[in-house]
Structure formats: structure tokens, C-alpha cells
């Protein structure tokens, strides 16, 4: 509606650290993946593992944060951001189009995975679910995700976070260079 241009990295990056700083000053902590554990606990996962036996109410503020992020996504997409493609490197567009992602130069997200047609494509459903499983399993194993390790942890110069971020890239590069070229054309 307001047709705003996307924000460059030098606006986006600093605002993310403002969010992290503000949470710390409020006595909270910036970390998104722990919400997945909280949600499992609320759903009764403590019956299956003691890992989920903790005082989830002390973490409920973080669910409020998540609720805010959902609202923020809606406000940005439907009110602020001009509709249109992402301004990708043409090399990326070429690589993705060679893997049958034809809308890499015309969409914000690939329709084959995020459009309505994804629901009726069994392989797309499987890819999204399994991708999600890896995200949930991996972030709990590593005890953090991009917000906890890459941003909060590296900001505090913590070695474990550097190791985790190296892991993020080992896994991401392996999939992007060796798995997606096989997987995406099959969608």
C-alpha cells in the first residue's frame, strides 16, 4: 500500500542489533529457536522427555515476541513493502532457473514451495516438513539459531557460537550446492 522499497543491509542489520540490545536491557534475551521448545512443552511434550520439563511460563514473554514478529511480517508485506521481485544477483536467478525455479526474477518467494500450489504437491509438502524438522532438531542440538548464536553469541565473542555458525554454513553450503540441484527440479 505504501509501496516502500526494501531496506538495504545497513538499515536492516543495525535494527536487528537494536532489537537484541533492547531485549537485554528489558532483562530478556534475543533467541527465537527456544520458542519451539516452549511450544512443545505447552503441547505436553514433557510426557515424552524430561528435556521439556521446565517452567515454560518464565519463557512466555518470548512467545509474545513471536506473536509480534508475525504481526510485523503482515504489516510489512501488506502495508509497507512494494510488491515485486527480490533484486537478486542475475547469476543466482540463472542458477535457480536452471533448477526449475522459474519465478526467481519475478517473485518474493518461489511459488512451487510457498504459493497455493505447494499444498497439492506431495514432494513440496515433504520438502517443507523435512526442512523444518532439520531446523528444529539442529537448533535444539546446537542450543541456538541465527539470533542466539550468530547475532547474540558472536556479539558477545563466544567461541561456541562461532563453531555453531561454521556448522550453519557447512550444512547450508552442502545442501545448496549438492542437494537442491537434485531436489528442486523434481518439485
Amino acid at each position: 500500500m505504501l509501496n516502500m522499497s526494501p531496506w538495504p543491509w545497513y538499515i536492516t542489520g543495525p535494527i536487528i542489533s537494536v532489537v537484541m540490545m533492547a531485549l537485554l536491557l528489558l532483562g530478556r534475551r534475543f533467541g527465537l529457536s527456544s520458542n519451539l521448545k516452549t511450544m512443545c512443552t505447552i503441547a505436553g511434550a514433557a510426557k515424552l522427555s524430561d528435556y521439556f520439563r521446565f517452567d515454560w511460563k518464565a519463557q512466555s514473554w518470548n512467545l509474545v515476541f513471536v506473536l509480534g514478529t508475525v504481526g510485523g511480517g503482515a504489516i510489512a508485506r501488506f502495508i509497507l513493502l512494494a510488491p515485486g521481485p527480490v533484486n537478486l544477483n542475475p547469476d543466482t536467478v540463472k542458477v535457480l532457473q536452471s533448477m526449475n525455479i522459474g519465478d526467481a526474477d519475478s517473485a518474493f518467494a518461489p511459488a512451487v514451495l510457498f504459493g497455493p500450489e505447494a499444498w497439492s504437491n506431495p514432494l513440496a509438502v515433504l520438502v517443507l516438513v523435512l526442512g523444518g524438522v532439520l531446523v528444529g532438531f539442529g537448533t535444539r542440538w546446537a542450543n541456538g539459531c541465527t539470533s542466539g548464536h550468530a547475532i547474540s553469541g558472536l556479539s558477545a565473542l563466544q567461541w561456541p557460537s562461532l563453531i555453531a555458525v561454521v556448522g550453519f554454513f557447512i550444512g547450508g553450503l552442502a545442501v545448496s550446492h549438492f542437494v537442491l540441484p537434485i531436489l528442486l527440479p523434481a518439485l
Partner: protein, 135 residues
């Protein structure tokens, strides 16, 4: 709590306006084709480092009077390297880390709900298998 909600709102708006929730931007990042995502993450870390140094130097506290809740990760490497690698695989497939998982839902790309369900399942699976994994 209202301020936490507003910060969530700001975070969701920022990651959408910065195109961080776009699956395409994550592919571009892993193909090393653009500085954008490295600038976003690196910029956030750079300001974060300054904040942490200043907080230590000037003894900043949370408004509750307690020290800032900066998580001290246990020393080790296995869980970080192995867990991080598994997460990185999921990040490249779904184009979403746990923040964008939910922001993408708000932005109306409903099939991401499948990845959220998967992530909850993966979290459950970790909780069950935790004792058998190297940490």
C-alpha cells in the same frame, strides 16, 4: 510485555523489509552471490559487539537491576558443530531460520506452516533422542 510485543513487531517488519525472509535471498547467500545477507548479519554483529563492550565497560544493567542476561554457552564443540550443520541444512531448504519461520507466516505465505510443524516435530525428536547424541 507490551514493549516486548513492539520489539517483535519491529523485528518482523525489519526482516521482511530487509528481504531476510525471502527464500531467494538465502539461496543467494549460500551461493556467495551477494553481500546483502552478510551485510545484514555482519552489521547486526558489529553493532552488537560495540554494545557488549560498552555494557561491560560502563556496567550497564537490565532495567530490573539484574546483569544483562547474556547467555554463556558451555564449552565444547560437538553439539555446536553437528547441531549447527543440521540446522544449516534446514535453513538452505526452507530458506527460513526460526525467526523468519514465523514472520513468513505473518507475511501470508501459508505453506511455511508445514515447515513450522516440521520444526516442532524436529524439536520433539531432539528432546527424545538428546541422551543418545554427542554434545
Amino acid at each position: 510485555m507490551f514493549r516486548v510485543l513492539l520489539l517483535g513487531l519491529l523485528f518482523g517488519i525489519t526482516l521482511t523489509m530487509g528481504e531476510v525472509i525471502s527464500w531467494f535471498r538465502i539461496q543467494e547467500m549460500f551461493l556467495f552471490d551477494s553481500f546483502h545477507m552478510y551485510g545484514v548479519i555482519g552489521g547486526a554483529i558489529a553493532f552488537g559487539v560495540l554494545f557488549n563492550l560498552a555494557a561491560r565497560r560502563f556496567g550497564w544493567h537490565a532495567e530490573t537491576g539484574k546483569p544483562l542476561d547474556i547467555h554463556q554457552y558451555e564449552i565444547g564443540w560437538k553439539r555446536y558443530l553437528f547441531g549447527g550443520t543440521v540446522f544449516g541444512m534446514g535453513w538452505a531448504i526452507t530458506g527460513a531460520c526460526p525467526g523468519p519461520l514465523f514472520i513468513t507466516l505473518g507475511a501470508g505465505y501459508w505453506p511455511i506452516a508445514l515447515a513450522i510443524l516440521g520444526a516442532l516435530g524436529g524439536t520433539l525428536l531432539y528432546g527424545i533422542l538428546q541422551k543418545h547424541l554427542p554434545h
